[in-house]
Every structure is written in structure tokens, then in C-alpha cells.
């Protein structure tokens, strides 16, 4: 076995040191009836690299990858070009095969990178501090709701209709057992501002409200000013939680922190990480300094060593499970370290200039695509304002259209029927994301296929 260095001679010598006659003897604490006599029947035996590679490659070929087709899917996961050096750097063994930096003297590389990541996320979101990552945007969102409960000592969260339905779904799963009250609503295809329910949110905030959770850009691509909402929350002693599922947008639009959000969480996948069929991704979590002790997750901070040299350590750990146990702010342990590193490297390669240019390019591409697609007979562009994703209202149900487009080799968007299977009003909605990876030819291919399919 190519991954097991011990030889039979080694094993015999080691057993002699131990004073056991066989490896099986080391399992004497396992009740005899639970000990398996040999390899589990019905499972294949070990295989060579070549054989495994052949098998996996065959499975991979059964998927239509985004790079093979005109591609317009978004709704919480975005395809952006990731520079080759990002993947090279995260595969350096010292990053890839290290552990959580519990021994700071020999983990300064990971720690400094985390400190840079925290600073980048805080600045991007317009907040004072950020943590060292969560699993993904959806779990970060729930963590923010529980944090608001701890900070305000209130238990009612109002979720915007424009919040990703899977994030809502997760919050409902948890709230059923934690006793949090959730006030939710389905989005509508309101012309100009789909998924926007600002009036409902503003009216709903009361003395029991712990937080309002609003996604920007929202699930239908609409972008909104959160300032009034933030002010109303603060008037009533509630927190505003902003969710960002497409951080590239923040190269073009104002950050939620700038607009007054108290906690900003997000999905960092679109910078550096890649699609990966949904995971691993990286949850981003930022907030105001005054709430830092209520934050979930790891935090890296600055200090000095015995020689007075600057160094980094994990800090404020008394919030965490390994010290506080059932009183911890969260149960998270393993987070998304390497994805956070990928995010940070990609953002460092972009820099302020690159991110702004990238955002501008995304927006311009999306505007052009939206204008082109809106010329199709019977197709209506629902959004007034958007960044790189917008919603079309088709003259027929969108879901079969998406399937038919896929048969033509075009991954044409996410149908709202997939996300909201029970909402008949939304069935004709198609959410189209346009990033720098979509070319003008791709857009034209989509337009023509869509036109043909609608007419069919």
C-alpha cells in the first residue's frame, strides 16, 4: 500500500517492543463479537493511482462543467476567473497540510495570512473586525442571528424576502429547536425592485426584534440602500445584519457597514474559491468592535514574542467551544481556513484597483446582457438596479426552459421554480448572472436559444 510506510519486519519489531503478538491483540478492548475477522465483504480491494484516476475521471466526464458551456448561474455561487497562482500557493504543503495554528511559534504563516484575511474582510464589508472564517454564507447567517440574540437579549429575527431561500431554510431548521422567532416572507417579482420588501421590514421592527436580516444584492439581483433600515433598527435597539453572497459587488457598490449594518456576513466563494458543486466555500463574518466578544469562530490577533518581535496568535478564545464548552458563542471548530487563504490571495492579487475594475467589468457585462435579453419577445427585465445578476420574467415557466437550454449545452441561469417550488407567482422567473467569464458570444448564444425555446 503506497501510503503505509511500515514493513512487516517493522511491525514485528514494534510488536516485540510492545509485548503483543499481533496487531489484532491490540484490539482486545473491543468486544470479540464486534471485531471483524477480515476486510469487510463486498467492498473492493486497494487500487493503483492509475486505476483510481481512471475511475474518477470517468465520473467527472459525466458532468457538464461551467467552462464547457455558456454559463449564467449564480444565486449564491458565482463563477469568476481565479488566477493560476492562487491554486499554486494554497497547495504549498506548509499551508495545505498544517493544522489550526494552535502552536503559534511554528504557524506564523497561517496566522499572518489570517490576520490579513480578517483585515481585508473587515474593510470590504465596512466593519471594524472580522473573524477567521465560518463554513459558508448560510451558516454564517444563522450564527449572526444567534449573535444578535445574545447581544440584544431578544428572540425575534425578521428576514428579508430577498434573503437566499436556502439561508432562510437553514434558519428555519435551527429556529424550530432554539425557540427563535422568525418573521419571513416570499419575494415577489415587483417591477424595478424584485425581492425588495423594505416597507415590510421597516414596519415590522419592534421592541422584541433582535435583528433584521437583509441580503444585498438580494437573491433576485436587486441592490438597495440599507441606510434607512439601519437607522430604524438602531432606533428600536435591534441589529441590522447584512448578507453578501457576491462580494465582488462591493468593488462597485457601497459596503453594508458604510450603510450602517452592525453585522455583515457573507459567502466568500466568488473570490478565489471556485464553484465546487457547493463546497467547500468560505463564510465571512464581520461586525462592530463593541460586539467582538459575542462573535463566533476563531480570531487572530497581534502580539509580541519573548524577544519583542511582532507575531500573531489566536486570541479571545474564551468565546470558543474548547474553553467555554456549552457556553461557547458557537460550536464551530474546523472552519474554512484554506478557502479563506484562497480568498485572501485572490483579493491581494486584485487589490483595490483590480477589484474595482473587475466589478466594473461584471456590471457592464450584466447591463449589456440584460438589455439584450430584454429585447426578446415576451421577456421582461424585472430589475431596476442590479450588479451582475438580474431576474427575467419569461412568458412561460422557467424551469423547463432551463432544462431545455442545458440540453442545448447552455447553462442559462437559475429558475425560481428550483428555488421556490411552491410559489406559482415566481415560476416564470429566471435569474441570470453575468461575470467576466461570460463573453458577448455567450450572451448571444443564450439570447438566441432562449428566444427559440420560448417560441417553441
Amino acid at each position: 500500500m503506497r501510503y503505509l510506510p511500515l514493513t512487516d519486519t517493522d511491525r514485528q519489531a514494534m510488536l516485540a517492543t510492545i509485548g503483543a503478538s499481533s496487531i489484532d491483540d491490540l484490539f482486545i478492548d473491543v468486544p470479540a463479537e464486534a471485531r471483524l475477522p477480515g476486510p469487510i465483504a463486498g467492498l473492493p480491494a486497494h487500487a493503483s493511482e492509475l486505476a483510481v484516476e481512471r475511475h474518477m475521471t470517468r465520473l467527472a466526464r459525466r458532468n457538464l462543467s461551467a467552462g464547457e458551456a455558456p454559463f449564467f448561474l449564480g444565486c449564491g455561487a458565482y463563477r469568476h476567473h481565479v488566477p493560476a497562482s492562487v491554486d499554486h500557493l494554497i497547495q504549498r504543503g506548509e499551508f495545505l497540510t498544517s493544522y489550526t495554528p494552535y502552536q503559534p511559534e511554528i504557524a506564523q504563516g497561517t496566522l499572518q495570512a489570517l490576520f490579513e484575511f480578517q483585515t481585508q474582510v473587515a474593510r470590504l464589508f465596512g466593519c471594524d473586525v472580522a473573524n477567521a472564517s465560518m463554513y459558508d454564507g448560510s451558516t454564517a447567517c444563522w450564527e449572526a442571528i444567534t449573535m444578535a440574540r445574545r447581544v440584544t437579549k431578544r428572540g425575534k429575527a425578521i428576514l428579508s424576502a430577498g434573503l437566499h431561500p436556502h439561508y432562510v431554510s437553514l434558519a428555519k431548521t435551527m429556529a424550530r429547536f432554539t425557540g427563535d422567532l422568525l418573521d419571513t416572507a416570499l419575494p415577489t417579482l415587483t417591477p424595478g425592485a424584485p425581492g425588495d420588501d423594505m416597507a415590510r421590514l421597516l414596519a415590522g421592527i419592534d421592541a422584541d426584534t433582535s435583528c433584521v436580516v437583509v441580503q444585498n444584492p438580494n437573491i433576485l439581483g436587486h441592490v438597495a440602500d440599507l441606510s434607512e433600515l439601519a437607522a430604524r433598527c438602531h432606533d428600536k435597539g435591534a441589529l441590522l445584519i447584512a448578507v453578501v453572497t457576491e462580494p465582488v459587488a462591493l468593488g462597485a457598490i457601497r459596503s453594508p457597514g458604510e450603510m450602517g449594518a452592525d453585522i455583515v456576513v457573507g459567502e466568500g466563494q466568488s473570490i478565489g474559491v471556485g464553484l465546487n458543486f457547493g463546497g467547500p466555500y468560505v463564510g465571512l463574518f464581520a461586525c462592530n468592535e463593541k460586539h467582538v466578544r459575542q462573535m463566533p469562530g476563531r480570531l487572530c490577533g497581534v502580539t509580541t514574542d519573548a524577544d519583542g518581535q511582532r507575531g500573531f496568535v489566536l486570541t479571545l478564545s474564551t468565546r470558543e467551544q474548547h474553553i467555554r464548552r456549552e457556553k461557547a458563542t458557537s460550536n464551530i471548530c474546523t472552519n474554512a481556513g484554506l478557502c479563506a487563504l484562497a480568498f485572501s490571495i485572490h483579493l491581494t492579487l486584485l487589490g483595490e484597483t483590480g477589484l474595482r475594475n473587475l466589478a466594473a467589468l461584471n456590471h457592464a457585462g450584466a447591463v449589456a446582457a440584460a438589455e439584450r435579453l430584454a429585447t426578446l419577445p415576451g421577456v421582461e427585465l424585472v430589475n431596476g438596479a442590479f450588479f451582475n445578476e438580474f431576474t427575467l420574467k419569461l412568458p412561460r415557466e422557467a424551469r423547463p426552459v432551463v432544462r431545455a437550454l442545458a440540453d442545448m449545452g447552455i447553462l442559462g441561469g437559475v429558475s425560481l421554480g428550483r428555488l421556490y417550488p411552491d410559489a406559482a407567482d415566481l415560476a416564470n422567473g429566471l435569474v441570470v448572472a453575468v461575470t467576466e467569464t461570460s463573453t458577448a458570444e455567450d450572451v448571444e448564444a443564450l439570447a438566441q436559444a432562449l428566444e427559440a425555446e420560448i417560441a417553441a
Binding site: 486570541t315 474564551t318 474553553i323 467555554r324
Partner: protein, 123 residues
């Protein structure tokens, strides 16, 4: 002023109807460098044995239980800036909070300095 001690290593200095509460020198030595103290807000009612404050070192967090029932009248704001006071002066400037006593009879079950010393020696 009379000072009492608990088996949870808190001290209570009582003067009139007001008790000042902190942790003992023994407790601070056990905890190591104190990095943060979470104190109850004035006006909070605490019940004997209930959680009243949290004291944290880098690798440990301990609840501080109210040794007696009462209403918090003041929290030691100096600890916010300088939690190290708990290490340097646990039974002086490093006090945690003051309470208006609800039931002075609750003090009867507590230890005096000599009894507490004997208690620590037995640990």
C-alpha cells in the same frame, strides 16, 4: 467592615447594607493572567449562588457566583481598562461589584479569613 469568604473563592466585604465582592488571591493565582472581566450592570438583581460575573484568563473562563442575594449598585469600571488589577490587587482595587444586601442572614454560612485559609490549605 467584616470580610467573608466562600468555597468558590470569592470575598465579600460588608459595610452597613453594602457588600463589595471580588475573587481571592488564591483564585487569581489559579486563573493566571486575567484578561477580561464581565461584570453585571448596576440594577441587576442577583440571587445567592447565581451567575453574577465572568472572569477570563487566556485559556480559562470562570463564572463568579453571587455569594449572597442582592441588587448590584456598582461595577468596577476600572477592570474594563485594566483587568490585570485582579492579579495585582485581587482583594483591593481589583474588586468586581457592590451589592445592596437583600438578606444579611445569608452571610452567616460564610467563612471568615482564618476558616478560608484553612480551607485553601486543605485543597
Amino acid at each position: 467592615m467584616t470580610t467573608y469568604y466562600t468555597e468558590d473563592h470569592e470575598w465579600i466585604a460588608v459595610e452597613g447594607g453594602t457588600a463589595t465582592v471580588g475573587i481571592t488571591d488564591y483564585a487569581q493565582a489559579q486563573l493566571g493572567d486575567i484578561v477580561f472581566v464581565e461584570l453585571p450592570a448596576p440594577g441587576t438583581n442577583v440571587a445567592k449562588g447565581g451567575e453574577a460575573a465572568v472572569v477570563e484568563s487566556v485559556k480559562a473562563a470562570s463564572d463568579v457566583f453571587a455569594p449572597v442575594t442582592g441588587t448590584v449598585s456598582e461595577a468596577n469600571g476600572a477592570l474594563e481598562e485594566d483587568p490585570a488589577l485582579v492579579n495585582s490587587a485581587p482583594e483591593g482595587d481589583g474588586w468586581f461589584f457592590k451589592l445592596a444586601l437583600a438578606d444579611p442572614a445569608e452571610l452567616d454560612g460564610l467563612m471568615d479569613a482564618a476558616a478560608y485559609k484553612a480551607f485553601c490549605d486543605s485543597l
